[in-house]
Every structure is written in structure tokens, then in C-alpha cells.
Symmetry: C2
């Protein structure tokens, strides 16, 4: 993982094979894609404070995991200091590293994890679990004034599928398994977990659980809360074991307390999760709606129907335009098709390509099931004047679905800031929510006097509502702090979420980034419940302090004691 | 509701229209159905202590709900003292009333509820919410040594559907709505909640939520946790509002903390729940399997398939025999059919009726969907040698499904004790779990030297497992306390659940009845999490104290202060 950006060092996003993208970005953000405006500071130029680890703690950590897996290496500490939120990227690129962890430890199994956790707690250190480091809600960063030793617990070595219970369709998996490691080990035995978040290539099972992740196919497989049954969590009072039962009425669910706990109750060691046989047939089909209103209505009707596809997604007109702009160089055939499509839309359906909404529906299962579902969706969408585009766009979507996070670095290099904010709300509120959020974002751009772009897709259709996923970008004015300008837009969007009755995040957790909206989302008594649980279970605030209920972090005022 | 038993005064279970039942009960429990052995004591003979309510509290309650809805009436207090567990029934019938509530209040809306809760907390009273009074886990009874004033908060007046959001398929409903009141108000507008627990006729939405209830059709509609989206809960620190969003990643779920909280975090005022259009077609089809092993295998395969029926249920041979024994007098045609069936099973399929397992699968949706599902299930079950019995048994099942709770009173009148214990486990563990539980129950009967019967059905099929629902009955020996003998059997069953990796209850909550197995179910750190939450949120232990985490109830040692 790059210390200053997303993903692998040898992978980057480029406009060079996408002829329409440069002009598109020039038009909407006023940037020249050929010109680099900004670069991360050089690693050697970073000011990295010495780690503060007592010899007692060092010895205890070494005893737990052997010296090979206790690191105070500068790059290690920088990589483990934060996740990959836009704020994280900007700070890191500037060389503003925040409160670096003092030491990074890499346990190889649960025994080692438990030993190091108890040793660290004994010596009043702070523990922050680290999976793939992809969090975008500020869940991985130590409080800036933390004076105790901060230990980043990297779970990457704990990446094995330990057991598959074939009769129960359950797999026992170590928490540090990344998406690819998980699917690879399941795949050789003919299984899949079906969990594919955008961060899939780097994020881990433990991270998904700790932040209540959703994946692209969660319509079918369920989000991480639905597919996680059993848990083992190393806590201050021993290892918590949640049995992998399919359902239980055993009081307030402790399983659900760990889901979304961001390391504040302990460190997840392993989980027992649903697995499914790799489906014999899969298809992602593209559709084009004539308007956002028709697209929303169609998706709502689909959610209420007896059809249950694996993936539902529809982009608003600005995101549809962006999708078209990121296409690789079209062939002559493509051009002819495009012209024909445009004509068809205009003449036969009275639609303008500017209002078009590109949708994808994913199907999985037996050939027969996939065929029946496709047919039923085509019938349903036809009532909303949708055009079936076939498999082509779906194949493209599948190919580039994990590339999106690289775009932020590309834009940062060119002086633009891009980020996402997503939420969920009942179906009846989605049209207004959409109007208010896009309006507020554009007002924020105007108030700042900067070029900006906001686009949206609906994904994750449920019985009673769906997720709206907004992406926004702006080219900040050079005379003011860029993060201040970013905050103005991001805050405007998040505030509209909670004002419109939506939640602060559908699948990106609270962290520190969203904590200011928590009380508006779950009400003051809800925050009090979280305080009771978190403060009562971790009275010393050693477990990833300051996350979720960020205000009044008890740790910030404590004297150093390690 | 009868003060000493289940349901309406004018309804009772009888053997008189079931010619095979008397001989069946004689054979297995050694009871003579014609002879009454026991009767509840007369209400007038009950020793009812005076209520202890200070004039200050009385005045505050009256101000909250008006004097009409504050009651210290003896019958009111007796009815509100407990739920309807076998233990509750036996104690009440004996006139051992336990710690009666001092006063019963009936708020008419959330404002009244909030006013009375805050007044009662101000004066350090204990609050126990009461819905339909059907709980069978001891969740409604005050601790026996409680010295503070105990206020039973009966929510029956808060029984309205306040709003239906048709576009989102969500209804906002007051917590006191009973099953029939809820379905009646939804039904006139063409909707259903689809939640049908055995206790449906009396139990309430708030009670379902507070105990994590499941219903007969939960395979399709989801259990109460799945169908509850929004919540309003009156808590010590104000009214908690959970937004009715379809999903959220907002930290440990406060919604899930309220689910199963049994009044320990506050009193649920209303909920926003999923509703569905009343399906155009419905069918419950009966099937007969030749063995329990084949039945389990078929149900597992069904759960993994692309078919998603509304109800799945299969009885083991003893429960199948009991079902046959409770049939109304068969007609000549029935007898001919039975003989033909017996012959068919024996000759053509090599099966004995003694090993037969009666199954039901319920279908709902469009005519076309129901027909396709039925066909697919018939095909799948045929591979497991099942016989399709058609709609007849299903119609009978639908007719008598809510009568079951009356049987316990009928048996108590005849000197026998009957109760249920249910659990859930992964598919791979179900066969062993079943063997161990039935074996242990029969060993317990033998150790006691009493006649007993244990039977089981599988219901609620999930991706990774299912619920096993055991019913047991015994005729206790007269020389020892009957509850002691009951406990020996019940404990043997519950202990097998947790020993076999299953949960202590799939849908009957913890209460006080199951609290002793909680730590074995969710591990000591899990119990510590519950303590942190419950004790931290309600430090004075005013909210239904002693439930869920029952040990060391802080309230028991407190001096009276009201």
C-alpha cells in the first residue's frame, strides 16, 4: 500500500486511454489533466518523531509475537497512522502525519494476539487494530494529543480460512484475510463469501466487521452484519466467543455490538461467515433509463417484487455522463452504436442523453434462474421506459469496479479533491434527499466560488429503502486551505443526510469523520447507550479511543503512563 | 386473559372432538383425560398484599395518565405479576403470587408514557413494561425481594397503526398493538406485517421487539429484528429515536440493543416496521418424510436452493404421532385414505408410519410464484422420498396454529406438565443436537421415574442453520415438588443446547428462566458487554431489574426509598 495514497505502487489511474475524460474534467473542474500541480512530499523529507515505547512494553510485545513482528520502522509507522480518507491523503501528502503509532505489531494467531493485547493493556498502552488500512472515516488514527504508547495491531498475518462447514455453508476465517486472500482460499473449494466492497483488493474481513461494510453484491449475500454469524474477539476481559448460530433471542445482540465497533470493544480475531457455492451463471446487464425519477421508481418496484437480483445500481445523469467519459477509446462500431442509440432515444422514446441514467442489475444462480430473473426485470423496467443495453456495459463495470479509489490520487496530483458520502433512507424520502443533497453541494461550490461536480448512484436496494451514494469533486481555490473548502462541501452533504431523515453512513462507519452527526442520527439517548457500552467495557479508554463517540474523549486529558 | 392460564376465559382446549387423543395421553403420560386432578385456587382465596405506593408517586401517575388508568385492583395486579411460562402457571394456580406489582398504569400515548416513566424514576420506583403478558421466560416478574414500588406499565391502550408509508412499505405502529389489532388495521388497507408467533392473539409489537420474537412466516418476512426499522423508546435520559433507515453503519447498532432488551433500557413506545401487500395467493402444503434424517437433509437443501418459501416446518416422528392424535374425528373417507396411505408407505416406499415426519411448507405471492415454488419443492422433496399430502393438512395446521398454548392448562388440570424449549444451530449440528436433547429428556424422565414425552420440529430455516423446537410433557410424581421435576427435564434440555453449540433460545428471550445459561451461550466477555450496557445506562436498576443478566441483581439489596 502506498504511504501517501491508494493501493499498489505499480497501479495508477490514467486518462490516457480515455479520450473523453480530459475534456470532461477540464469542463467541470477546470483542470488540465496533462499538468501535475501537486505531489506528495518525499518520504525522506517527512519529520518522524521517535517512537515512545518503554522497554517493558517492548519486551512484552516481543515475547508475544517475536522480535521479527514488532516494528518501529518509519515507513511502517507512517502507513499505519491513518486510513485512506480524502483528509488522510491530503495530510499525508503534505507531510502532516498526525499522531503516529509508536510501534506496529503483527500477531500470527489468536494466542499471540491475546498475549499482546493483555500485555499492552497491563501497561496502559493504546491499541488500534489495522486490517487493510482502507478506512475512510478516520477510524485508524490515534488522538492527536495521545500521550500513552500507541500500538498498531496489524492483522495481515492472520489471513487463513481455518475451516469450511460445508453442510452449514459456514467458513471460519481469521480476521486479517483480505478480500482476495479470502476468495482465493474459498474459491479453490468451490465457495464464495460474496462480499465485494470497493476496497475489496485491500480491506479485510475484520475491518469489514468492525465498520459494518457492504459489498456490491450485498443485495443477494447480505451486508457483513447479515453474513457474519460467529465471532471471536480478544477483549480486556478475555476472548469473547459468539456462536455461529443462525439466529438467537439472547438479549441485546453482542454480535451486533461488535459489528461497527471499530476496535473499541476489542480486536476481532476470527469470524464464522456465510459462504455460498460459486454460482454456475453470472451476468451483469446494463439498462438506460430516461430520467432519475423513472429509475428510482423502477428500482423501488424491483425491490418489492418477487425477483431478487444480486446487484442493483443506477447512476444519476451526472454520474452517467462521467461513466461515458471514462470509456476507453471507442471503436468505429461503438461510434455507430452511440449515434444510433442517441437517435433511438431522441426519436423513439423522447429522451435526451443528458437525462439518461445508466443502471446495472446483477444476476447469479443457475442458468435457468438467471434467465428467468433477467426476463422479469426487462419486463418490469420496460414499464419505466428503460432500454436494455445488454452485457457490454456490465462487463466493463465488472472490470473497472475496483479501480475507483485510485482516481482520488490522480485528481489530487492535479489539484482537485474528490470524495464520497453515502447514506440510506426509506424509498419515499429518496427523491427529496437526492434533490437536497445535490442542491446543497452545488450551493457549497458556488459559495466557495470554485468549480465542482456532484454525482450519485442508488445501490443496495432493500424492502423499505436504498442507499444513495454521492461522489463529489472540487478544485479548491488556492488562497484558502483546501481541507477547509472540502469540509464545507462534505459537511453540507452530511448535514442534508441527517436533516432529511437519512443515516450518516450506509457502509462507511462513524470513525471520527462522521462523529459530529452521530447524535442527530441516533438521538442523544442512543449516544448515551453507546457511551454506557463503550466506556463501561473499556473504562481506561485503551481500545482505539475517540472513535464513534468522539466528543469528550477521556484519553486526551490523561497523563502518559507507559 | 385468564389470571391463572392462557388466553380467553371462553376458550379451552378439549379432547372431546379428538378421539385418538385420550388414548394417546393415557399411553404416554399415564393420565386419564376424563378426570380432573387439579384446579387453580379460587381467586378469592388468594392472599394479596396491600400495594405500596406513596401518595407522591400516586399523584404523579394520576397526573400522567388520569386516575382512570392507575389501578391497584387485585385482579389487575395478579394478571400483571407474571407471564405465561409453565412455572408462572404452576405458581399462580397454587396461589403463590410472587412479588406483585403495586400498581398498574395504562398510558394512552407516548407523552403520557414519558411523563409517567420520568415521574416514577424521579421517585426511584421500578418499571416493568407489559404488552400481552404472554412471555414464557420470566421477563415480567419483579424480583421477589424488591422493596421499591413496582409499577407495571400496560401498553394495551397504545395499539394504533399511526401511519403507513406506502412507497417505503413501512408502518409506524404503537408498541401496545396486539397481533390481531395490528393485522386488522393493516389489513383494511391491504397490508400485512407477516409476523405470526404462536402467541399472536395476545402478544404485542413492543413485546415482540423486547424479546426478539420470530413468527411462523419469518422465513419470508424475517424475524422481528429484521422487520423492525425505526424505534421510539422512552428511556431515563429522554426518548431514543432510531430512524427507519433500511441499513446503517452507525457504530454498534442501538436498534439491536433495544431488540431483546426486555425493558431494561426503557419502554418501547412505537416502531416503524416492514409491511407487505397481502399476497394474492397463499398455500400451506403438507408432506410426509420417511425419516427424520431425510427430512433434515431435505430442509437443508431447500434452504440452500433458489426457492424461498414463506414457512418451513417438519415434525419428528413423536410430534407427527401427536399431530395425528389431535385430529378431529375422521370421516369414512379419511379412514380409507389413511389405510391407503399406510399401505402405500409400507409397500411402495418401504416406510413405516411410526418413522414418518409430517412437514409443512408455506407459499405466498402471485399465483404464478406460488405454483412455481410448489413445483420446485415437490421436485426437491421427491429426491428425499417425500410424499406430497396436499393442502388438507396445511388447512388444519392453519386453523389450529394459535390453539397450542391452551394445551398446557388442559394438561395442568390433569396433573401433567408441558412446556417448550427451542434453540437454533448450524445445519451440521442439528442431527447430533436432536439426538442429545431427546436422549437427555428421556433420561431425565427415567431418572425421575415418571412418564414423559418429548417431541420436536424444525422450523425457521436459514442459510446456515435452523431452529429446533422441542415440546416436552411429564406426569410428575406426587411425592416431590412438581416444579423440581419439571426443572430437571427443562434444565437437561437447555444444558444440551449450550453443550452442543446451540443457543439458549431462538425466539423466547433470556428473561430469568434462561439467564443461568447466558454465560455459556455468549461467553463471559459477552455477559460483561451486556453488564456494561445495562448497568451503565440504568445505574439505579429501575428498569425491569434482574432480567437477562440476572446474577447479582443490584436492586435486591437496596432499601425501599419510595
Amino acid at each position: 500500500m502506498k504511504w501517501w495514497g491508494w493501493g499498489r505502487d505499480d497501479v495508477a489511474f490514467t486518462h490516457e486511454d480515455k479520450p473523453a475524460l480530459g475534456p470532461f474534467l477540464g469542463r467541470h473542474l477546470g483542470i488540465d489533466v496533462a499538468a501535475h500541480r501537486a505531489r506528495p512530499v518525499a518520504f525522506d523529507a517527512l519529520r518522524i518523531p521517535d517512537p515512545s515505547v518503554t522497554s517493558r512494553l517492548w519486551l512484552a510485545l516481543e515475547q508475544a509475537v517475536t522480535d521479527r513482528f514488532v516494528s518501529t520502522d518509519a515507513l511502517d509507522r507512517v502507513v499505519h497512522a491513518r486510513g485512506k480518507s480524502l483528509r488522510d491523503l491530503v495530510h499525508h501528502r503534505r507531510g502532516e502525519l498526525g499522531r503516529l503509532p509508536d510501534v506496529v505489531v503483527r500477531p500470527g494467531d489468536e494466542d499471540e494476539l491475546a498475549t499482546l493485547v493483555h500485555a499492552a493493556l497491563e501497561l496502559d498502552a493504546v491499541l488500534i487494530p489495522f486490517g487493510g488500512g482502507t478506512n475512510i472515516s478516520g477510524s485508524l488514527e490515534a488522538p492527536v494529543h495521545e500521550r500513552r504508547t500507541v500500538v498498531s495491531v496489524d492483522l495481515a498475518r492472520m489471513d487463513r480460512v481455518l475451516e469450511i462447514d460445508e453442510a452449514s455453508r459456514l467458513a471460519r476465517v481469521q480476521a486479517g484475510a483480505s478480500g482476495p486472500r479470502l476468495e482465493e482460499q474459498l474459491g479453490v473449494r468451490g465457495w464464495t463469501a460474496g462480499h465485494f466492497p470497493d476496497s475489496f483488493t485491500h480491506s479485510t474481513l475484520g475491518g469489514w466487521i468492525a465498520t459494518r461494510s457492504s459489498g456490491m453484491q450485498s443485495d443477494k449475500y447480505g451486508d457483513i452484519a447479515a453474513l457474519t454469524r460467529g465471532l471471536r474477539v480478544v477483549t480486556p476481559v478475555g476472548t469473547m466467543v459468539v456462536r455461529p448460530v443462525p439466529s438467537t433471542s439472547t438479549g441485546p445482540s453482542v454480535r451486533e455490538m461488535v459489528l461497527g465497533s471499530e476496535g473499541r470493544l476489542g480486536i476481532i480475531s476470527e469470524a464464522v461467515i456465510h459462504v455460498h457455492r460459486v454460482p454456475p451463471a453470472r451476468a451483469t446487464i446494463g439498462y438506460l433509463f430516461g430520467s432519475w425519477a423513472e429509475a428510482l421508481a423502477a428500482m423501488n418496484e424491483l425491490a418489492a417484487s418477487e425477483i431478487a437480483p444480486a446487484l442493483t445500481r443506477v447512476s444519476d445523469p451526472p454520474e452517467t455522463a462521467f461513466s461515458f467519459a471514462t470509456r476507453k477509446a471507442p471503436t468505429v462500431v461503438d461510434r455507430v452504436k452511440d449515434a444510433a442509440l442517441s437517435q433511438y432515444l431522441g426519436r423513439r422514446r423522447g429522451l435526451a442523453l443528458d437525462d439518461a441514467c445508466l443502471a446495472f442489475v446483477g444476476y447469479e444462480g443457475s442458468e435457468r434462474h438467471v434467465a428467468a430473473q433477467k426476463k422479469a426485470v426487462a419486463r418490469l423496467f420496460a414499464r419505466h421506459r428503460a432500454l436494455v443495453l445488454g452485457r457490454g456495459p456490465g462487463v466493463l463495470y465488472d472490470q473497472k469496479k475496483f479501480d475507483t479509489p485510485y482516481i482520488r490520487d490522480y485528481l489530487l496530483d492535479r489539484g482537485a479533491l474528490a470524495d464520497v458520502s453515502e447514506t440510506a433512507a426509506p424509498w419515499s424520502r429518496l427523491p427529496t434527499l437526492y434533490e437536497r443533497v445535490t442542491h446543497s453541494a452545488r450551493e457549497a461550490f458556488a459559495a466557495l466560488g470554485v468549480p465542482g461536480y456532484v454525482m450519485c448512484h442508488l445501490s443496495h436496494s432493500y424492502h423499505a429503502g436504498a442507499c444513495l451514494y454521492f461522489t463529489f469533486a472540487l478544485r479548491p481555490a488556492p488562497e484558502r486551505d483546501e481541507l477547509e473548502q472540502y469540509d464545507a462541501v462534505k459537511s453540507a452533504i452530511q448535514q442534508e443526510f441527517v436533516d432529511a431523515g437519512a443515516t450518516l453512513s450506509h457502509h462507511h462507519a462513524v470513525g471520527t469523520e462522521h462523529a459530529q452527526w452521530l447524535e442527530q442520527d441516533i438521538s442523544a439517548p442512543g449516544v448515551a447507550m453507546l457511551h454506557a457500552l463503550l466506556d463501561g467495557f473499556d473504562p481506561g479508554a485503551n481500545l482505539n479511543p475517540g472513535k464513534i463517540v468522539g466528543a469528550g474523549q477521556p484519553d486526551r486529558e490523561r497523563p502518559a503512563s507507559v
